[in-house]
Symmetry: C2
Subunit: 360 residues, 2 copies
Amino acid sequence: MSNLVAVLPGDGIGEEIVEQAVRVLAALKLDLQLEKADVGGRAYDQFGHPLPESTLNLAKKAQAVLFGAVGDWKYDTLPREFRPEQAILGLRKNLGLFANLRPAVLYPQLANASTLKPEVVSGLNLLIVRELTGDIYFGTPRGVRTAEDGAFKGEREGFDTMRYAETEVRRIAHIAFQAAQKRQKKLCSVDKANVLETSQFWRDIMIDVSKEYPDVALSHMYIDNAAMQLVRAPKELDVVVTGNLFGDILSDEAAMLTGSIGMLPSASLNASNQGLYEPSHGSAPDIAGKNIANPLATILSAAMMLRYSFNHEAAAQNIEQAVAKVLEQGLRTADIYEEGTTKVGTVEMGDAVIAALTSS
Amino acid sequence: MSNLVAVLPGDGIGEEIVEQAVRVLAALKLDLQLEKADVGGRAYDQFGHPLPESTLNLAKKAQAVLFGAVGDWKYDTLPREFRPEQAILGLRKNLGLFANLRPAVLYPQLANASTLKPEVVSGLNLLIVRELTGDIYFGTPRGVRTAEDGAFKGEREGFDTMRYAETEVRRIAHIAFQAAQKRQKKLCSVDKANVLETSQFWRDIMIDVSKEYPDVALSHMYIDNAAMQLVRAPKELDVVVTGNLFGDILSDEAAMLTGSIGMLPSASLNASNQGLYEPSHGSAPDIAGKNIANPLATILSAAMMLRYSFNHEAAAQNIEQAVAKVLEQGLRTADIYEEGTTKVGTVEMGDAVIAALTSS
Ligand SMILES: CC(C)[C@H](C(=O)O)[C@@H](O)C(=O)O
Ligand SMILES: CC(C)[C@H](C(=O)O)[C@@H](O)C(=O)O
């Protein structure tokens, strides 16, 4: 196993939040080799592509990618293949990062930040397992063509293909069942099997795989109902597994329930525990460079990296406990600030986490 | 224009809630002819199909369909084509009901019912315009096959086709822009244009149609962000237009924000103002026949029917004001009951609405 980490800060606040995560990693004095490269809009400006070959090669060689965020309004008018988001899609596909783990955790100290009533969300601790390399995100054929059949034959139409092969569903099912085994042993698979063939196929395989996990209770929910239940009673869910498109929607909705998306990390893994780690929030170009951004989601992403790609469970927990400690101390960046707490900047938050690490 | 209304109560609580709406219509003494037929699980039991030909023919002949709800757990194991939901999909497709209007309104009297903080949702009044006869719901080809290309070539795969033709996008765009003109003149189109070709095509046409509505401000939002913004600040949105699949998800999420889905009506229209009107909630078989269900969403659906299919604006408002009045009087069915209000049954709620109608 390589000890190489590709550090890709990207655009907007990416640079400054990743910097704090890198400082936290350095403070832990682990045997990691960090190498930085450009990605996103910044890479487009310099190399004419949001995911330059040199960056992709570094990511492939590395055991883990520590990713900031990409995107800026100024790239919105570029043709889609050059837009910053393509970098993230390209990394997922090229590294085969099919398993996206997105926890939605509401720290008790931040219960007021949510737009939901405290009793509905406080203590929320949900894990969304999203399939990340299949589905309509990558399915071919896709494009704009002249319709060859149907009521609008002869007209221009846009089209995409949703598709899932058996292996793709099986492998994400195993990840999800194993995650459920380590938690409350409840897994909810979200699909739209009352309408979509892909979903019925997905559901059948989930049921089949569930036979290998008799200790986990599998349930199924339609995506529209899941979007409702997240608002109605999110604490009734524990681990949710779903496809790429539905996972995109649900994981963002779940993140927003906490009211503190600046706290939420994510991991995207392949079969050899190579992973990409990034905060769940975006690049927030409006506040970039102002020492305002919350670095905790990125710092917690670094903790996930230590856990999943480097098997450093103790170091991961050390970071997570340090983050809990700074919240306990009342330190808050602007996004999670409320009266009675102490507002700090990006760097000061990094300092505080480092100070809170235990040196064992 | 025919004065025929097809009354299709369906399963679960459908019968008793539709009955109250029918009583309200009768009290208004309009020149309408009501004819009842079976649909959903009940129709399957009797005719072997959830949408029997006789029911479909009645619906086609009618100017409007007043629909209750369909579905019951006991039909869950049927092959998909016989499941109750197929009736609703079949009616939409056969009548060409491409425009689904789903208001998400939070009555000030019910602000506590929401899981969101009152300041975030009180006064919420959002209209979701969902395209209803296209998209991945009906797109072909679809099915299960052996993959002919890609990384899983030779394996079994499930697949569906998302597709939108130009006419389909244009006509729903016009409906949405016109709805926005009658409201706050803000229209937000929701898509996933950073990933999907269908969405980019959709977005380009929305922009093109917007030139005919210079008084309406058009904005665009990705579906994942929209799912978040509904939780974060739902009152910032006014009219939302989106495709069939995204609309399914968002309209249910928006409905649940109100905490009182038992209050929310919907209309599904075609180009000749033929329409299907139904509550946004489901068939709730667990409480069927107990005089517990909230009939107000169905009664409000009847009001939408008078407005859109029969051009009886005054009568529609009469119903809507009567509903507001009974809430003001403190009457509540169990789903929206809170301390200090008066709990009533399905029939009593119907009685109260009828008593509150003005006889002008
Ligand atoms: C940027 C975009 C392509 C991406 C996605 O849709 O997957 C993002 O929303 C995410 O969830 O990581
Ligand atoms: C029952 C189901 C097929 C339907 C849909 O997905 O459209 C329902 O969820 C709705 O929104 O009316």
